[in-house]
Symmetry: C2
C-alpha cells in the first residue's frame, strides 16, 4: 500500500470487504428490518406522553425542556418573490454528535456502521453512523445508559480525530440547527455489537445508488471528507484498480479528478467567496421567533399542525413501540412533508473537469442567511407546475433529462427521528452540450474539489448539497 495516498481515498476506491460483500449488506439490513418489531401509531397531539403545548405560546415542547420543540417564526426578506411569511419550525438548539469510528484492517480504513431504527424511516432500519447522540445523551445529563462507543468520541478512550466539523441541517425545517460531524480512527480492538458492521467508504458510496439504505446522518458525515490532491500516484493506483476490475470507468475517474484537482476550476476560490459575499450583503433575512399560536395561515386540529392550503408540511404526533421482548415505547411529534421533493445537481465538463452548478439559497432557518445548495432543491413545495409560488430555475431541465444524462437517481430519506417517511429524489444530471456556461446571478459553477474546501470551513454547503456530494463515487 502506497502511504502517500490519502487513507480516505483508498477506502473510497475499495469495494472488496473482507468482512461482508456489498450484496450481502442489503440482505443484512433487510434481515435487521425483519427481526425487529416497530409500531408507529398516530396519536392526538394533546395526548403525547411527556409533551405539552406551552400555555403562553402554544409551542409544542417536551416536558423536560430538552430534546426539541415546535416554535413559530416570522420571516422578512428581500430575497425571492415572497417577502414576508410565518411558519412553524423545529427548534433544537443543542449541538449533537454524528460520529463514525474508522479502523484500519490490512491497511484499509473501514467505517463502523450501525443498523439503526428510526420511527420516521420508511423502512425503519437504515445504516447510520456509529454514534448519533444529542448533547443530553453525551453529557449524560439524564444519567441514563450511555450510547455505545461514546467513549471514543469524548476522550475516554484513545482515538485520532480525522474530521470534526459543525454542519447545518435543513434550513426550511430546523431553526439554525447544527451538528458536529466527526470521524475518528481507532487502534483498539473494538467490542462488536450485533447491529454494527464494518464497511469501506467505497461500499457506502455504492449503496447510495439504492433507495433509503444510507441514512441522512451518514450522508452528511461522509460528505465532510477531503480526499487530498491529484498526483501521478493516484493515476497509477487508479489504472491498476481499473485493469483489475476489467471495466471502463471514465465517469468515476472524471469525478475523482474533479474532487482532487485544484487547478482547473472555472473560478478561483476568491471569486466564489466574493460571489456569496455579494449576495449575503444585498439580501436581508430578518427572522423573529413568535408564539406558534400566532403563526398566520397555519392551523391546529386534534392530530396535526398544518398549513390551511395543505402546503409544505404538517406536524403530527406518533406513539412508537420498538422491540420484540424488551419493548421501548415513547411518544413524539414528527414532521410530515406534503409531498416528496427533488434535489439535483446539474454537472458539466468545463476546461476538461466536471463542474457542479451550485445555487445560492436563502432559507428561514439558515445560520448565515445564504448557503450553497444543489442546482434544484424543492423539498418543501410541490414541484409540479402551478402548485408553488414560482417554478424553480432548472427544474424543467432536470425533469426532462434523457436517461443517458442521469448519472444518479435514487430516493434518500431525511432524518427518521424528526421526519415521517420523508424521502427525496437525489439526482445528478449531466448537462448536454448546448447547456450554457452562463448562469443566473445566484448560481455558480464549482468543481467538487472547491465544494469540499468550502465544506471543511463549515456552514457553506447546505445538507441537501452535502447529501448529493456524499453519493459521488470514484469507482
Amino acid at each position: 500500500m502506497k502511504t502517500t495516498l490519502h487513507n480516505f481515498l483508498i477506502s473510497a476506491l475499495t469495494i472488496d470487504n473482507e468482512f461482508i460483500d456489498t450484496k450481502s449488506i442489503k440482505d443484512w439490513v433487510k434481515k435487521q428490518n425483519e427481526e425487529v418489531v416497530v409500531k408507529v401509531h398516530p396519536k392526538r397531539l394533546e395526548e403525547l406522553d411527556k409533551w405539552h403545548f406551552d400555555k403562553a405560546t402554544a409551542d409544542l415542547v417536551h416536558d423536560s425542556g430538552k430534546f426539541f420543540s415546535i416554535i413559530g417564526l416570522d420571516i422578512k426578506t428581500n430575497w425571492g418573490k415572497v417577502s414576508h411569511w410565518q411558519q412553524p419550525i423545529i427548534n433544537q438548539p443543542e449541538i449533537g454528535i454524528l460520529g463514525i469510528i474508522t479502523k484500519r484492517f490490512n491497511g484499509i480504513l473501514y467505517f463502523l456502521m450501525q443498523a439503526k431504527i428510526e420511527p420516521g424511516n420508511i423502512n425503519y432500519v437504515q445504516l447510520s453512523p456509529t454514534l448519533q447522540a444529542t448533547k443530553s445523551n453525551y453529557t449524560k445529563v439524564h444519567q441514563g445508559r450511555s450510547p455505545l462507543y461514546l467513549e471514543y468520541f469524548n476522550g475516554e478512550k484513545p482515538a485520532t480525530v480525522l474530521v470534526d466539523q459543525l454542519q447545518s441541517e435543513q434550513g426550511a425545517r430546523f431553526f439554525r440547527k447544527r451538528n458536529r460531524n466527526i470521524i475518528v480512527e481507532v487502534e483498539d480492538e473494538l467490542a462488536m455489537h450485533p447491529n454494527f458492521v464494518w464497511l469501506t467508504l467505497g461500499q457506502i458510496k455504492h449503496l447510495l445508488k439504492f433507495d433509503n439504505l444510507i441514512n441522512m446522518d451518514t450522508r452528511t458525515v461522509i460528505s465532510c471528507i477531503n480526499f487530498g490532491s491529484y498526483n501521478s500516484e493516484v493515476t497509477d493506483f487508479y489504472s491498476t484498480l481499473r485493469s483489475k476490475n476489467g471495466q471502463k470507468q471514465d465517469f468515476e475517474l472524471d469525478m475523482l479528478i474533479s474532487a482532487l484537482n485544484s487547478e482547473k476550476a472555472l473560478h478561483r476560490i476568491d471569486t466564489v467567496i466574493s460571489w456569496i459575499t455579494n449576495l449575503k450583503s444585498r439580501f436581508d433575512l430578518e427572522v423573529n421567533r413568535i408564539p406558534l399560536k400566532e403563526v398566520n395561515h397555519w392551523k391546529r386540529d386534534e392530530f396535526q399542525i398544518f398549513h390551511e392550503d395543505g402546503k409544505y408540511f404538517k406536524v403530527i404526533g406518533v406513539e412508537v413501540e420498538i422491540g420484540n421482548r424488551e419493548v421501548q415505547r415513547w411518544c413524539q411529534p414528527l414532521v410530515e412533508s406534503a409531498q416528496e421533493g427533488i434535489m439535483a445537481f446539474i454537472i458539466k465538463k468545463i476546461n476538461g473537469v466536471y463542474h457542479f452548478l451550485v445555487q445560492a439559497k436563502l432559507e428561514s432557518g439558515n445560520f448565515d442567511v445564504i448557503e450553497m445548495a444543489p442546482t434544484v432543491q424543492c423539498l418543501t413545495g410541490n414541484y409540479r407546475a402551478g402548485q408553488q409560488e414560482y417554478t424553480p430555475a432548472f427544474l424543467d431541465y432536470v425533469l426532462a433529462a434523457k436517461p443517458k444524462q442521469i448519472r444518479l437517481s435514487s430516493y434518500q430519506s431525511e432524518e427518521g427521528g424528526r421526519f415521517f417517511q420523508e424521502q427525496n429524489r437525489n439526482m445528478i444530471i449531466e448537462a448536454d452540450d448546448n447547456f450554457s456556461e452562463e448562469v443566473p446571478e445566484n448560481f455558480i459553477w464549482m468543481t467538487l474539489n472547491q465544494m469540499l474546501s468550502f465544506i471543511q470551513y463549515n456552514n457553506y454547503l447546505n445538507v441537501e448539497a452535502r447529501s448529493l456530494i456524499s453519493t459521488v463515487r470514484f469507482i
Copy 2:
C-alpha cells in the same frame, strides 16, 4: 518585475513611493488635521437631533429607523465565570462596505487612501479606506450625494475584485455586525480628490508602527489579504531587496515565512477546525434582545447610559460640527470606553516558523458564538488587577515583557464613527525560551499562513486579531 510573485506581496515589500515618501505622509495627515475645523460637544441624549428613545423599549434609535441603534441584550452562557448578564449593545444590522481601490503604477500595486474625519477619533483625521459606506449610502436610499469612488464598487465602472469578504466587528460592542471588506484593482485613470493619496501596502504597514494614523476600517480590510505561497523566487526577491536596503531584517523575513509557508505548522488546519468545533459544541451562547430600559445594572441620566459601577463603557450624546466655510452639523450617540485596553499576540518560533498564540473567545455579539482572538484581549474591562471579574490568561506575561521581546507596541483607534476617543494598545510580544508550547484548552498555536486561510473563509478571526495581523510587516 517577476510576474509569478503575488502583487500584494510586492506592494507589501515596497516602501519607496513615487508619489509621496513615508515620512511626508505623517506631515500630510497632520496638515489635513490642522486645516479642518472639528467641534464635538456633549449633548443631552434627549436633545440629540433626529434621535429619540423608543417609547416602549427606551432603545436609543434614529428617527429614520436606519443607521444604528442602542438596544439591550440578555446573555446566558456556560463559558467563563459570568454565566448571565445584560448589557446595552450597538445594533447595526445592515452590511456596509469598506472598500479600497488599488491601481498598478510601474508594476506596483498602490492603495488609494483617504484622510477621513471621524468625530470620535482622538486626532479627528486618520487614513481610511477609499470608501466607507453604509448600505443606505451605497444603495442611494436617501438620494443624497453618492460617496466618492462608489462607482468602482457597485459595478458602474470596471474594476477587478481582488478581495471581497464579510468580516465581523467588535463582538462586545456590536450585535452581530458584519461589513463587506473589498479590495478592487482599477485600470482607469482616476480623478484624484484632495484628501486622497496613493500608498503602497508596505507604507501602510510601516505607518502602523505609529499611534492612531491608520483607522480601524483600513486595518480590517488589509488584514484580509493573502500573500500566496513561499518559493525560491520569494527568497531571491527578498535577498535582492535586503542587499539594496543594506539592512538586516531577520524578524521581518521570519514573519514573511510564517505568512507564506503552509507546511511547517504545529497543527494541521483540520486539527485547528476540530479545536474550535469542540469549543463551539460544548459552550452555549443564548442571546436575547431585551428593551434597553430593562437592562440590569445599567442606568441612564441626562447625558449618558452607564453601568452603575462605572465599568465597561457608557453611551454619550454629541453634537458634531465639521468644516471651515461649508459647515456640516449633526448629532449622534457615541460609545465611550471606561478605560483603554490591550490586545496582544504572543508569538514563538516552533519548528523554525513563528506561531501566534490564538485564543478562542466568546463575546455576546459574535455571529457564531466563538471567534479566534488575540492571546490577550481586554477592551471592555479594566485590565488592572482587582478591577475585573477575573484576570485574563497571559496578561501578566504581556505586561511584564522586556523591551527586546516587544516586537510591536502602538496605540490604534477603534472606529471613530461609533466610539469616542477609544484607543487600544496593540502589541506583539515574543515569548522567551522558557515559554511553554503547552497551552490551556482555549488557546492554540497557529502560523500567520493558517490565520490568513481562516480569515479568507469569513468570521473566524475577530476584529481585534485582524487589527494585529494588519500590523505585521515583511520589510
